[in-house]
Symmetry: C3
Subunit: 203 residues, 3 copies
C-alpha cells in the first residue's frame, strides 16, 4: 500500500463520518444517516467517473466499502456513547483535510490521463474532492458548503492547478507531481483552518 492509498482511506473514513453527523443533525433515521455516510464518502468518486465515462471504481471493489462502513458505524457509535458531535473537532478536520487532498489529486490525475484541459482537470479535482459533501448538502436542503467555506474548494483548485502546471509545463509524471500537490493541498487547507483565512468578498 502506497502513502497515497493510505491517505485515500483516511479520506473515505473522514467523509463517511462527516456524512453521518450531517444526518444526525437533521434527525434522520439510521437508514438516512447511513445513506448520507456512503454518499459523502463515495459521491465525489462517482461523479468523477461519470464525467470521464467509466463505471465508478468505488462501486466495483470491496475495500472502499469496508472503510466507509467502518466510518459510518464508528461515527454512530461514538455519538451514541458520548452524545457529542465530533465532526467539528480538530481531529476530524485534519482527517477531512487529508481526504480533501487525496480525493482532489486522484480526480486531477484521472483528468490529466483523460486529456482534459485546465478547467476540466480543476473541475474533476473539485468534484472528486468536494462532490460527496455537495451531494449530502443538497439532499439535506443546505446550501453546499463549497459556496460558503471558501478556502475549501480553493485548496482543491490550487492543488489541481499546481499538478496541471507541474505535468504540462515542467514535464513531471502525474504520479510524482501528484505527491507534491497532495502535500501542498493538505498544508494549504490546514493553514487556512488554523489561520481562519477567507477570500476577499466581491463588492
Amino acid at each position: 500500500m502506497t502513502l497515497f492509498d493510505f491517505f485515500n482511506i483516511i479520506g473515505l473514513v473522514a467523509f463517511a463520518v462527516s456524512g453521518v453527523y450531517k444526518g444526525i443533525k437533521k434527525e434522520l433515521d439510521i437508514l438516512g444517516i447511513s445513506i448520507l455516510g456512503f454518499l459523502t464518502a463515495f459521491g465525489g468518486g462517482i461523479l468523477r467517473d461519470i464525467i470521464i465515462n467509466r463505471i465508478p471504481v468505488v462501486l466495483t471493489g470491496y475495500m472502499d466499502i469496508s472503510f466507509a462502513t467502518g466510518g459510518i458505524i464508528a461515527g454512530m457509535l461514538f455519538y451514541k456513547i458520548f452524545k457529542k458531535d465530533i465532526s467539528t473537532s480538530t481531529t476530524v478536520k485534519i482527517f477531512d483535510a487529508i481526504g480533501l487532498a487525496a480525493f482532489t489529486i486522484s480526480g486531477a490525475i484521472v483528468g490529466i490521463n483523460a486529456g482534459l484541459n485546465l478547467v476540466g482537470v480543476i473541475l474533476l479535482a473539485v468534484l472528486t474532492g468536494t462532490g460527496g459533501g455537495m451531494i449530502s448538502d443538497i439532499l439535506t436542503g443546505e446550501v453546499p458548503f463549497i459556496l460558503k467555506e471558501d478556502v475549501y474548494a480553493t485548496c482543491s483548485i490550487a492543488g489541481a492547478f499546481i499538478l496541471f502546471t507541474l505535468t504540462k509545463t515542467f514535464g513531471f509524471s502525474p504520479e510524482s507531481a501528484g505527491f507534491f500537490s497532495l502535500i501542498f493541498t493538505m498544508a494549504l487547507r490546514l493553514t487556512a483552518i488554523y489561520k481562519n483565512w477567507h477570500l476577499p468578498r466581491f463588492e
Copy 2:
C-alpha cells in the same frame, strides 16, 4: 410481454401521475407539469444508465414514452374533471409500490450484470426506483422523500440485497432471482403502507 414488462409499465404510468400531481401542487403551468411527469417516470432509468455508461434506454425506444405520456394526460384530465388529488389515493399507492419494485429490480439486475459490488447494486437499485421522484422533489424545492419516507428506500434496499444474495451466494440467475425479489419488494412496501411502519429514529 412478460409479467416484469407489465409491472414496469404500471410503474411508468404511476410515476408519471405522481410527477403531474407534484406540479399541480406547486401551481406550475402545463409545460412544467409535463416535464415533472416525464422526469419522474424516466429520471430513475436515466440515472441508472448514466452510472453504468450506456445511452439511456428510455430515451431510445417509443413504448416507454407512450405510457408516460398516457399517465401525464390521464393525471391532468382526472384533476381537471374531479378536482381531486389522486396521488395519495390507495390505488395510486399500490401502483406506485408496483413501480418501485419493478424499477428497483431492473436497476439491481443491470448492476449485477455490470459487475458492481453490493453497495453499487443497491445504489443502482435505489436510484432507478426512487431517482425520478428525487429529481422532481429537488426541482420543486422539496426535501427528497427518500430521506423522509423511510420505509420507501428501505424496500428498495432490501429487494436489491436479496437479489444480490440470491445470485452471488446461492447461484440463482439474475432473472429468476429478480422475480422473487420483485414480489418481495412490492409486498414489503405494501405492508409498510398498510401497517404504517417506520424505522427507529437515531438518538
Copy 3:
C-alpha cells in the same frame, strides 16, 4: 468559423455573465462567482455529453474556456465600475436568447446523431440549453428558472421538436434543419420577451 460557432460563442459569454451576476446577487466571493460563471456556461454541454456517454467537449479544448473566462472577467469588471446589474438589460437578454438557441440546437443535433427518440432529443436540447442555468440556480438555492420562466424552456422544446420533425419526417440533414431551427428558437424567445408571453396556468 461558421455562423453556428459564432452564435455558440455569444452563448458562452452571455451564460458566463449571467452566472457571474447570480453570484454577485448572493454576495459570494470571487471564487464562488467564477465557479458559477463557468458552471452556467459549461453546465449544459457537460450534462449533454454525460447523457450520451462522451467526455465533455467543453473540457477538452481551449477555445470555450477563453470565451467563458472573458465573459466572467467582463461581467465582474462591469459591475465593479458601473455598480449595475446588466443581467436584466435588453442586450444581455438578446445575447442570452442567442445562446439558448445555439445550445438547444447543438444538444438536439447530438441527440439525433445518437439515435435518441423524440423525448430524448428534446431532453438533450433542453438540458444543453438550460442545464447551466439550472445547475447555478440549484447551487445558490433558487428554484430553477426553467420551472418559473415558462416561455424559456418552451422555446428550447419547440426548437428541438421542429428540428426532429424536419430531419425525421422531411428528411433534411441535421445541419441544414439545425440552421432553420436555431433561427426559429431565437425568434420565438425574443418575441416571448418582447410580448411578455406566458403559458396558460393549469387550474
